[in-house]
């Protein structure tokens, strides 16, 4: 219920639009009721043989109702879709404002891009709140009251009976259906999930399926899943069929009962016989309002679940709080120095530490490498430097200033990252570059592209810098993406550069090209080079070897080789790889 109220709050900025839509929806159905009622009256009255002129009003009304219905239907759909799009805009802006402070940390804990896509899909689903839930319910209420009102003109008793049937159909049938189908919804979801799993497994692992002769096994698996799913679906079909049948039955029975009650009233002259047919048609037409309620309640169920998931994310607290009294970072003549002092970090309290007692000093203009087997905690280091999270213990300083006391914006202006997965936005190449520096001039962009060795590439594009890239545009290769990141880094021109496994997803040839493009960049800026491949280590001022979150060894390339420890081991393995020119 609380979630429902929260969702309603999203509608309040444009509540007058909502009221208008509900009104139009009600008019639409009321005009149909009116049309059929009037038509029945017209025919019945004509049968009594009055003067034509007395029928002129009903004739006129009958004609009018048709136009009113068509117009109100058209207007209602436009207005309600308008409201829906406004709702969607509201939802997106709100969700963004709640999730933005939580980034980047919480987003990283989503296991795959899948979860983010699902979150966005859930948010989009909520836009149906008005159109498929609030609207049908509100219109049903209004029309039911209207019907009650109309029938009470004839007889209060009839009115109550009519209302009772409307409620039975609008509320009773959905609840009955929900009760009968309890658990089936979940069963169906589960059966679908298992089927999906089998299909995904077989297709993604098709090489292994075929290599081990498992085609038949997988086929039978899928057939079995189909059988279980079919079983549940057939069960569901019986219930949805029942629902449709009951809807129909209640509507017609309402008519029948009202007829039964009205006939004696006509015989006793309480009601004029002319209205008998009218009563029949009126009640039949009024059910148009309550019949959509069954699916509205079902949809409500889905929506509430989706809303729950969304609120779970948006209600979370950001992991890093910006200090209210932000201190400036003292500027030093040499530039910026980054230091870690006995830093410890675990993702959650009580969990195994990802980083233990990390201390180092990155002097301005120097180059430091952090290496080690994968999973050693290297990337976490970069994220702590950028304040995705705060360390569990220890301090991180920029020019001596604890970074927890700085403004996040300032911190991130000073440090630029090139990570292994560069995100390209669904936009032009130009916009993707401008991200790094908002008002960059053409000349600056040209230079950056040249430094990143992208000039030739850009020249070959169909529309140059205005080519659309990203998910729905041109797909860039791994190497091209990373070079774009390098171009962004050039434009950004931040004093400290962190390369976080920048070449991890590239093949050796492409890696070499990228490292070449980085030479100029790393020469100008203080660089922290995080990698698990030992290339170009001779140029590093200091190398830290991380193992299981601790600094296992440190020194220069030559010193470490001489030690014949972990570094030497890693180096030897790498040397054993053939390099292909």
């Amino acid at each position: 219920m609380k979630i429902f109220t929260r969702l309603l709050a999203f509608l309040s900025p444009f509540r007058w639009l909502i009221v208008l839509a509900i009104l139009l929806g009600s008019v639409m159905i009321a005009s149909n009721i009116g049309l059929l009622g009037m038509a029945a009256y017209l025919i019945a009255a004509s049968a009594l043989g009055p003067l034509l002129v007395l029928l002129s009003i009903p004739i006129y009304l009958v004609r009018m109702m048709g136009i009113v219905r068509a117009l109100s239907r058209y207007a209602e759909r436009l207005v309600s879709h308008n409201a829906t799009f406004r709702l969607l805009a509201n939802l997106r802006v709100w969700a963004y404002s709640r999730i933005e402070p939580q980034a980047p940390a919480h987003l990283l804990t989503y296991r795959s891009g899948d979860m983010l896509a699902r979150l966005v899909a859930d948010i989009e689903e909520l836009q149906n709140f008005y159109l498929r839930v609030v609207s049908p319910i509100a219109v049903a209420l209004v029309v039911s009251l209207f019907t009650f009102g109309i029938f009470s003109i004839f007889s209060l008793g009839l009115a109550w009976v009519a209302l009772a049937f409307l409620v039975a159909d609008g509320l009773g049938v959905p609840f009955l259906t929900a009760f009968l189908a309890r658990g089936l919804g979940r069963q169906q979801v589960n059966a679908r999930a298992v089927l999906n799993l089998q299909v995904v497994d077989s297709l993604q692992g098709i090489k292994d399926v075929l290599a081990f002769g498992r085609s038949q096994v997988q086929l039978e698996s899928v057939a079995a899943c189909d059988r279980s799913l079919g079983h549940v679906q057939r069960h569901m079909a019986t219930i949805t069929g029942l629902q449709a049948a009951l809807n129909d039955l209640l509507m017609n029975t309402a008519m029948w009962v009202l007829l039964l009650l009205a006939i004696p009233l006509v015989s006793s002259r309480y009601i004029d016989g002319v209205y008998l047919g009218v009563i029949g048609l009126l009640i039949l037409a009024s059910f148009e309002a309550v019949q959509p309620l069954a699916s509205a309640f079902q949809r409500l169920g889905h929506l509430l679940t989706a809303a729950e998931r969304v609120f779970a994310v948006t209600d979370a607290q950001p992991p890093v709080v910006e200090s209210v009294t932000a201190q400036p970072i003292p500027a030093e003549p040499g530039g910026y120095a980054l230091s870690f002092e006995h830093v410890h970090f675990a993702y959650r309290l009580g969990e195994c530490e990802v980083l233990s007692d990390i201390s180092f000093d990155l002097r301005p203009g120097s180059r430091m490498a952090i290496v080690g087997p994968s999973g050693a905690g290297k990337s976490t280091l970069a994220r702590l430097a950028l304040r995705f999270w705060d360390p569990s213990n220890g301090v991180i300083r920029l020019n001596g200033q604890d970074i927890r006391c700085c403004r996040l914006r300032t911190l991130r202006d000073l440090i630029c990252v090139i990570a292994q997965d560069t995100y390209i936005f669904n936009d032009t190449l130009h916009t993707n570059l401008l991200l790094a520096r908002h008002g960059a001039s053409e000349a600056e962009i040209e230079t950056a592209l040249a430094q990143a060795q992208l000039t030739e590439f850009t020249r070959q594009l169909p529309r140059g810098l205005n080519t659309w890239v990203g998910e729905q545009g041109m797909q860039l290769s791994g190497g091209e993406r990373q070079r774009l990141a390098v171009a962004r880094a050039f434009l950004r021109d931040a004093p400290i550069l962190i390369l976080d496994e920048a070449t991890a997803n590239l093949d050796p040839l492409t890696e070499r090209t990228l490292l070449d493009s980085l030479v100029e960049l790393t020469r100008r800026q203080t660089t922290l080079y995080i990698t698990h491949r030992l290339l170009g280590m001779e140029r590093m001022d200091e190398i830290l070897v991380l193992d299981q979150g601790r600094i296992a060894e440190r020194g220069t390339h030559e010193e470490l080789l001489a030690k014949k420890g972990l570094y030497r081991q890693l180096f030897d393995i790498q040397q054993g790889e053939l390099t292909l020119a």
């Binding site: 025919i43 933005e100 089927l195 069929g241 047919g277 991130r412 995100y423 991200l435």
Partner: protein, 578 residues
């Protein structure tokens, strides 16, 4: 496409006919209902009968109501069952065909789309089968039935109905195609705008790091508003068809009611008949309106069907043997690859170009070459995931095309570059290599492959659920499982595709011994980049652009100072102080 879909539906004929029959019976029941209703109203209103006198028709009326509802129930159930049966059989057909098409056809980027087709794509056909198809028939049958009933009662109304009836689908079609054109024109812009939000969310980290995340909030609002404006522009036309339909139907009812009224005044028609016609008029238009509603679902269904049949019609890249299958002579196997060529469909150059190589029995050959040289193509051909364009692969003289792919694959064990772990326990994942193996053999294989070395890290040991939705094993651990499978399978031919590339130093050392044991007494082809692995092979072949450019023993090649020596040489320049 529509043709093939129709052919698939043939087996459902019976049940669909049943559905339509029930709906038709339902329509007849409705007609009876209206006849009874008009009779009752006439009796009470004009003939001034009391309740007792109309009791019989009232009871009959109740009967028709119950019958009508029951038929509706029956119709729903049968229609759904038809759809369920159809979906399951089509799903299994597509799935079986996808398996036959093999990995050569499904490249990894397409898997997501294929899964979506098998799951959601087929679901979209549900409405097509259970609603649209029956409705197509009903939208003709029911109005006709009503016309037949109305005609003898009042020919003028029947004429009006007849004239206005077909106008509805016609209008639907005209307005529909007009709006579709307008929607298509906007499609790109609209889909970009609707994808914007997800894009921003996915790139939020990047935005944050460039300090541009707060500016995006306004942009989201701006784009959502523009989306609203543009979509509403399109919807103005899309809703027109609904409005016009509604208007037409309502006006028709109005006109019919009015003319009936006038004729009643002139005593040209009896009240009972006039009322009946009024009652039947909405029923006449209803099926046509229903059809309009179903059209959207129908279009979605047809789009899905197109893709499904595209898949079903893709030719299988392997030919089945026509003659009686010849068994491969037992014992150690010598593989002779002669003049093998392969061109990927749609590509210009051959991936393998008159490739020739001999793998003598019980020897180990290492294949070296950069990415794109043709190594994975060779593996696919050796595994018979596809057939070569020309040339032969022979095992002990028998061409492998003489056997069915399933039988051939029993002779080969593959350790792929990216092994796949299935949804199931670790034990099951190893056992699938040879289901008849006993526990001892399984444990032995696991031990040799270095799986037991990490088993203690897992809570449930061998019974740990792995794969999709299970425990995520590291690349190195997965590779060890793949090696365990190969050991367990114990096949005469072994193909190792970069077996140690994902392994860290410790694991590699662990495996090295097992790999040495594994490669004894077997014909082995190993594709590798690591010097240590290659140096232990009996032969080395260098592959470049689909051809063998150098071959010989490792030592001989080093001495010859050719390409292989060069590759090593580049490695060795980084001085390693001893």
């Amino acid at each position: 496409m529509h043709k093939r879909l129709r052919a698939s539906i043939k087996p459902l004929r019976g049940i669909l006919v049943l559905t339509v029959s029930m709906s038709t019976l339902g329509a007849l029941t409705t007609i009876a209902q209206m006849i009874l209703l008009s009779e009752i109203v006439n009796a009470v209103f004009l003939s001034h009968r009391g309740l007792a006198q109309v009791l019989l028709p009232l009871v009959l009326l109740l009967g028709t109501l119950i019958l009508r509802a029951s038929l509706l129930w029956g119709r729903e159930v049968t229609a759904q069952r038809a759809a369920i049966r159809f979906k399951a059989s089509l799903r299994e057909r597509v799935f079986a065909h996808l398996l036959r098409l093999g990995p050569a056809w499904n490249s990894s980027e397409r898997t997501g789309e294929l899964v979506a087709v098998v799951n959601e794509g087929i679901e979209r056909l549900d409405a097509y089968i259970s609603r649209y198809l029956p409705q197509r028939v009903l939208s003709v049958v029911v109005p006709l039935l009503i016309l037949v009933v109305v005609l003898p009662v009042d020919w003028f109304s029947a004429l009006l109905l007849l004239v206005t009836g077909p106008v509805i689908p016609l209008l639907m079609y005209l307005v529909g195609s007009y709006t579709e054109k307008r929607i298509q024109a906007q499609w790109d812009t609209l889909s970009r705008m609707s994808a914007h939000f997800l894009d921003v969310m996915q790139g939020l980290t990047t935005l944050k790091l460039f300090g541009r995340s707060q500016a995006q909030q306004e942009r989201i609002a701006h784009i959502s508003n523009r989306y609203r404006d543009k979509t509403l522009q399109v919807l103005r036309y899309a809703f027109l068809s609904g409005a016009v339909l509604e208007f037409m139907t309502m006006t028709a009812i109005g006109v019919i009611a009015t003319t009936l009224g006038v004729r009643l005044l002139n005593h040209g028609i009896a009240f009972e008949s006039a009322f009946l016609v009024l009652l039947l008029t909405p029923e006449f238009y209803r099926p046509l309106q229903e059809l309009g509603v179903q059209r959207h679902a129908a279009m979605e269904g047809e789009a899905s069907a197109r893709r499904i049949f595209e898949i079903l019609e893709s030719p299988v890249p392997i030919e089945m043997p026509t003659a009686v299958e010849e068994p491969v002579p037992a014992g150690a196997i010598t593989l002779d690859i002669t003049d093998l060529s392969y061109i990927y469909p749609g590509k210009e150059g051959p991936a393998l170009d008159h490739f020739g190589l001999s793998l003598p029995a019980n020897t180990c050959t290492a294949l070296v070459g950069r990415s794109g040289a043709g190594k994975s193509t060779l593996v696919n051909l050796l595994m018979r995931f596809m057939d070569a364009t020309s040339g032969t692969i022979a095992a002990n003289g028998v061409p492998i095309t003489a056997l069915s792919p399933d039988r051939w694959r029993k002779y080969v064990a593959l350790v792929p570059q990216r092994p796949y772990l299935f949804y199931g326990t670790l034990r099951e994942n190893i056992r699938l290599a040879r289901p008849e193996a006993n526990d001892d053999e399984l444990m032995q294989a696991a031990k040799l492959a270095g799986v037991t070395a990490f088993i203690d890290e897992l809570l449930d040991g061998f019974d740990t659920q792995v794969g999709e939705q299970g425990m995520q094993l590291s690349a190195g651990q997965a590779q060890r499982v793949a090696i365990a499978r190969a050991i367990l399978k114990n096949a005469p031919i072994l193909i190792l595709d970069e077996p140690t590339s994902s392994l860290d130093p410790e694991s590699e050392a662990l495996i090295r011994q097992s790999l040495t044991t594994l490669t004894l007494n077997r014909t082995v082809l190993v594709i590798a980049h690591r010097y240590n692995t290659i140096a232990r092979a009996d032969h080395v072949a260098v592959l470049d652009e689909g051809r063998i450019v150098e071959a010989g023993t490792p030592d001989a090649l080093v001495l010859s100072r050719g390409i292989y020596a060069n590759m090593l040489g580049v490695v060795r320049t980084s001085e390693v102080p001893v």
